[in-house]
Amino acid sequence: MTATTVSLPKLGTTLFSFTLEMRQRGYTLEGMIDQVAERGLGPGLELVGFQSLRGYPRVPAEVISAFRDQCERTGLEPSALSMNLDLGLHRGRLLDEDEALDYLEPQIAVAHTMGFPVCKATVIPTRSFLEGLVRILEKHGDLKFGYEVHSPMAVDAPEILQLRELYDAIDSPLLGWTPDFSASMHSVPPSLIAAHQQSGMSRELTDLAIEVWNSDTTMPQKFERFAGEAPALGATPADMGKLQMLLTMHGRQDPRRWSEIMDRVVHVHAKFYGIDDHGDEPSIDNAAIIDVLVDAGYTGYLSSEWEGHAYTDSVSGWDMVAGQHELFRRLLSERAVRA
């Protein structure tokens, strides 16, 4: 029997993982990118335009060429530019379709100039908007667009089903998906529960949150049950907000169901919230997700996205991402052997 070679995804990091680190004294974008390279957290390098680039999307030409030179020098590969469609830009009204496309175009242009092959943002889910988006992507180097499927969305959420139909109807290779692992979790992150307990929530209250999260009910039903039971367990209005966020930000989709959209996946957000003593992510079945990606022949980036910084500053984003990369290297080599 001959050994089969299997094509594997590449590793990478989004600088969003270092949201707290960028507030530290002495921060520079160049310094942060150098650290990604020195710590071996590439090769994929993703960033959020509105976070990492002053003046974005009007980025000075010298900043763009310095970025490209630095990638060349460090061996990092621009993976995806995270853009934003600020539909609520104006007070009291939302952008219309034309305004929304005009808002995205300079961001797409800068993504292309910086050397990113993929960009991502939300969309207005209409055929005319998506066709307009394709025209802009074609104008800027056939850049690919990866709509992020993030909790509370999942591959079968009504909004995503609607987009899947539109994608099929338009059938452009430039329109794709960015699965985010937040949508397919098997547990509430222990680090989040610990942070909530540390902020004063009772064990009974966090237990209720976990029970409600695990129940096979709709989001409105979950919110309703919370509203009914949490106040008796001492939940303050601030606690209620945090627990509603917990329900919204972590989804229970079966990881195997990512296969339904794999034919159009252009980028992957390897969201995570912690690495335990065994080197595993305690709330996400990364092995199952990697199986789906490898089975589908995905060879793009697994862009590590540490999001525990939203609720804790007790660990280093650098250590977290390094831990997840170690986990991925183990899972990918196990998978390569099995292939």
Partner: protein, 135 residues
């Protein structure tokens, strides 16, 4: 809501300015936002609420009244820059202690919530309560 709340008002944020004081304010959101996102700037000093009309906001070298922020869709508050609230109010000298209560409400323009026909931006609020030494 999270660790960045602690970053909104630094220890050295309060400055005497001759006819009053200035307060440096940092964002509790992770990305730059348009000035239209600055929807709540609730300030009370030593228990006394500062009326909106007594306050101006300096961003990117320009100064805005609070109502003018509503038109600032083309100007962004870069995520690492503090904005400066300027308040005319007598009685601020370097070295004095003052208690500052500050409510920052940011309208998040890409996270829309509510029913499909009435979606509106999420309001991300942060509350700071600090006793500061005037610089």
């Amino acid at each position: 809501m999270g660790p960045l709340d602690k970053d909104v008002i630094h220890d050295d944020a309060l400055h005497a300015s001759g006819d009053g004081f200035t307060l440096d304010v940092r964002s509790h959101w992770y990305r730059s936002l348009p000035l239209t996102s600055l929807t709540v700037l609730g300030l009370a000093v030593d228990g006394e609420k500062v009326p909106e009309e007594d306050m101006t906001v300096a961003v990117n070298g320009k100064t805005y009244t609070v109502p003018q922020l509503a038109d600032g869709y083309d100007e962004y508050w870069y995520v690492l820059d503090p904005i400066e609230l300027r308040v005319r109010k007598p009685g601020f000298e370097p070295g004095q202690s003052h208690h500052v209560e500050f409510e920052l409400g940011l309208s998040i323009p890409y996270i829309l919530i509510g029913p499909p026909h009435a979606k509106q931006p999420l309001l991300a609020a942060s509350h700071s309560s600090r006793t500061l030494t005037c610089q």
